[in-house]
């Protein structure tokens, strides 16, 4: 039994993971791959945050229609994150402003952060992975 107890101790470590999304949803594979990594990470019960900055804010835009470029529209999948217990979604205020977007334009509920707040959030993380 003591072996089991030690294993339990090891698996209970929770780190703060931030997934930083910086690219437009289509044109490169980063956004979709990043999303898939987050969905897989959810299985490990870690403290996960997702951040959308620069063109990454477009990933969360409502009303994306990708039919013309013949790729799957995965924007609805961001709405599944809640079911995966990933509820910490942040967007960068300046990136939103620069693109004329407000929270009402986004498909999920997010927290909008200033540059300083974002810097603090990043400093708290154990791991930051950028897509």
């Amino acid at each position: 039994m003591s072996d089991m107890d030690e294993m339990d101790d090891g698996s209970g470590i929770v780190k703060k993971f931030m997934f930083l999304n910086r690219k437009a949803p289509h044109g490169t594979v980063y956004a979709l791959e990043g999303l898939e990594v987050v969905l897989i990470t959810a299985a490990f019960d870690q403290d996960v945050s997702m951040v959308f900055t620069d063109d990454g804010v477009f990933q969360l835009m409502k009303g994306i229609d990708s039919k013309g470029i013949e790729v799957k529209d995965f924007s609805k999948t961001y709405r599944a994150l809640e079911g995966y217990d990933i509820e910490k979604l942040y967007v960068d205020q300046a990136s939103m402003d620069a693109r004329g977007l407000t929270e009402d334009d986004l498909i999920v509920d997010v927290t909008v952060l200033s540059v300083d707040e974002m810097a603090n959030l990043m400093a708290e993380q154990d791991v930051v992975i950028s897509f």
Binding site: K72, K76, T77, R79, A80, G83, Y84
Partner: protein
């Protein structure tokens, strides 16, 4: 990728037997997939299969089994939203087998 003939229709499946083009799905395909998976489809199975199709239509992914279990519990009640019930219906993994029958891709993160 391999083609299989199901009820007189040629359909494309991937190397693990999952339907490639979701829009081709129909009940004949579900029944064919069920035979492949050695699952005898009952109303209880269909309930899960139809749930998965609705989930996919809403979120564009096949859910991980943990997420599926929780979502089924929410919609169909706790007596169905648990591993025991779902594994009795789909012994080789509810996400894996039920997704295949529902014509969905293999769940993300399912090995």
């Amino acid at each position: 990728m391999p083609m299989v003939n199901i009820a007189g229709k040629e359909v494309e499946v991937d190397e693990e037997g999952y339907l490639v083009d979701l829009s081709q799905w129909n009940e004949d395909i579900a029944k064919y997939m069920a035979v492949e998976e050695k699952v005898e489809l009952t109303d209880s199975h269909w309930e899960v299969v139809n749930f998965l199709r609705e989930y996919y239509a809403e979120y564009q992914i096949a859910p991980a089994v943990r997420v599926l279990t929780k979502a089924i519990g929410k919609k169909l009640g706790p007596e169905k939203g648990n591993n025991k019930y779902l594994y009795e219906l789909f012994p080789y993994g509810p996400a894996k087998q039920a997704c295949k029958i529902a014509g969905l891709p293999k769940p993300t993160g399912c090995i």
